[in-house]
């Protein structure tokens, strides 16, 4: 086949853009860690690193859910509120109604997954964008969480319930270990399983996937249930760590989780993303937040900064996909112009 120079330039096989982007994220992370270690003597201590990883652990779980939903070409806005929802149900059942704690835990996670299932079914039956259905679900579950707990933290979980949040194996707390294991399983699901491939295919081109028999309806419902299920587990871990359930626990995680996922290189238009990238992105967000505290910067600046970082990350993504003409940024990203760019 006749090949132009531009096409031949894209023929570099293994080290794809994706890998370069992930490499960039982890390089940025390492630079931040070195800088903070120099600026604050407390940063690189076992205690601080552990608290960083604990903060990252539940954020990574919900971030993983969002990543998978975004790869499928959809969005989930309800995942942060679902943490509060699951935590509140768990507190209500176990503390107020005396349900045995393992059963209460399971019911809370199932309730969260059912909320995701409901969003999914309404999406496909009503042919609605998930932006709308999950936004509606955000309102429903957030309100329900406040109603269940009367807006107050509900305390008094049995000690056994709190072991995940507070016990360790050696130096590793369960609240890092459990999400870590789940995270690895999710990564394998996404990269090795047929369902993982289906998620990438549907998110990349819904029509093409449907024509060869891959159901976008099953995919949408599947990813929303998975995301909600992960929020449920994350909500349980948070209540276990704090020893209480509340309508506010986890509800503020929307912004940092979205930021981490976007920084991690997951595309908002579907078909592209990775959990390795998301973990790096979440670590960056958590490190910024921790670093600002150590450097005595106001909490409110964190939100502003995270917002700015989201904007920057999205602009980089637009440039990487050729929608923005910024040659210096392209060069920085190591992206080669493709035949398509030149034709289009």
């Amino acid at each position: 086949m006749v090949q132009s120079l531009a096409q031949r330039a894209t023929a570099i096989p293994r080290l794809a853009r994706w890998d370069l982007q992930v490499l960039g994220i982890y390089t940025a992370l390492v630079v931040m860690w070195i800088a903070l270690t120099i600026m604050s003597p407390y940063f690189f201590t076992g205690e601080n690193v552990r608290s960083l990883l604990i903060a990252a652990s539940t954020l990574s779980l919900i971030g993983a859910g969002l990543t998978i939903v975004l790869i499928a070409g959809e969005i989930d806005l309800s995942f942060a509120a679902l943490q509060a929802f699951a935590g509140s149900i768990s507190a209500l059942l176990i503390i107020k109604s005396g349900v045995p704690w393992p059963l209460g835990m399971v019911i809370a996670v199932v309730a969260a997954a059912l909320a995701g299932f409901t969003s999914g079914i309404i999406t496909i039956v009503g042919r609605l964008p998930t932006f709308i259905t999950t936004l509606a679900m955000l309102g429903i579950v957030q309100g329900t969480a406040f109603l269940l707990t009367n807006g107050q933290p509900v305390t008094g979980f049995p000690d056994a319930y709190q072991f995940i949040g507070n016990q360790r194996i050696g130096p590793v707390p369960y609240s890092i270990l459990v999400p870590g294991v789940i995270y690895v399983l999710l990564h394998l699901m996404l990269t090795r399983s047929t369902f993982g491939l289906q998620i990438f295919a549907v998110g990349g081109n819904k029509i093409a996937a449907t024509r060869v028999g891959l159901s976008w309806k099953k995919t949408v419902v599947g990813v929303l249930v998975l995301s909600a299920f992960l929020s449920g587990i994350s909500g349980i871990i948070i209540t276990s760590r704090l020893g209480a359930g509340s309508g506010t626990y986890g509800a503020d995680d929307l912004l940092p989780a979205v930021a981490g996922v976007i920084i991690g290189g997951t595309s908002l238009t579907g078909g592209k993303g990775s959990l390795i990238g998301t973990f790096g992105g979440i670590m960056i967000v958590v490190t910024i937040s921790d670093g600002l505290v150590l450097l005595n910067v106001s909490q409110f600046w964190q939100q502003v900064l995270v917002g700015v970082i989201i904007m920057g990350a999205v602009l980089i993504d637009q440039t990487a996909r050729g929608y923005l003409d910024a040659p210096w940024l392209m060069a920085l990203l190591g992206r080669r112009r493709t035949a398509q760019d030149l034709e289009g």
Partner: protein
């Protein structure tokens, strides 16, 4: 040479047609898009489907590929009647469609696109990527296609290479009949030539091609037989050797009355 009888051929093997379309009609509201269209296809032949805009070519192909369902008429494969209600039904019956918009997933690599919907698996739920890459290379070799790598993202390929991926996918789905709607419409001269070579390779491999095209030069370069539609009716079936450009143009425009 045309067989318009309402009963299907009972011959399964040998020289008879293996694919028979009988009296297919389709109306959209008051517009009769197709009326009693019948034709046969034989193994390993390239058949061009010709006609002016609105003659019913695309409607016919969409019925055979399961996008539309016919109001009347039947399709027989190997003498057996088959129901084609969805694109998946068609694919299971060995009728593959190479869509005009290609329907490739830009964000996935060549191998994943070729085996989209027909992924080799282990333990049913894991993708056997090793086998997928080996098989994808085999399919491309069979078609004599040069591809930078089966790991290249399809979004980074040229128009002709993307067309090749779409054709390779249809082959990987074990299609016997390839329905192709304007396969070279969006391509340049060199790339069109390459697609013609691909079509010849498919034919050499015993596949049957039903090709819609406006390009008469293209038709006479590749087609063994030509079917002409006009106002939703089949007005002529001609062998390549027994016709010429003037007759075909006349049949398409209505200057020459059909059979």
């Amino acid at each position: 040479m045309t067989d318009d009888s309402a009963t299907p051929s009972t011959r399964v093997n040998g020289s008879g047609p293996f694919f028979e379309v009988r009296n297919v009609s389709k109306a959209f509201g008051h517009v009769q898009a197709l009326q009693n269209v019948s034709f046969d296809l034989y193994s390993g032949e390239v058949v061009a489907l010709l006609g002016d805009n609105g003659a019913g070519k695309s409607t016919l192909v969409k019925i055979l590929s399961g996008v539309y369902s016919a109001d009347e008429g039947e399709v027989f494969i190997d003498g057996q009647p088959v129901a084609i209600k969805t694109p998946m039904d068609a694919l299971r019956q060995g009728i593959g469609t190479v869509y005009q918009d290609l329907a490739v997933v830009d964000t996935l690599d060549v191998a994943r696109n070729i085996y989209l919907g027909r992924t080799p698996t282990r333990f049913r739920f894991l993708v056997d990527y090793q086998r997928m890459y080996v098989d994808a290379r085999k399919v491309l070799t069979l078609l004599r296609v040069n591809m930078p790598s089966v790991r290249t993202k399809v979004g980074d390929l040229s128009g002709g290479q993307r067309q090749a991926v779409a054709i390779a996918r249809t082959l990987a789905h074990e299609a016997r009949i390839f329905l192709m709607d304007e396969p070279t419409a969006a391509l340049g001269v060199a790339q069109s030539a390459k697609v013609n070579e691909l079509m010849a390779e498919l034919k050499n491999n015993g596949r049957t091609l039903l090709v819609i095209t406006h390009n008469l030069e293209h038709v006479f370069a590749i087609a063994d037989r030509l079917i002409v539609l006009r106002h939703g009716r089949r007005v002529a079936v001609r062998k390549h050797a027994e016709t010429n450009r003037e007759e075909i143009v006349g049949l398409i425009t209505g200057a020459i009355r059909g059979d």
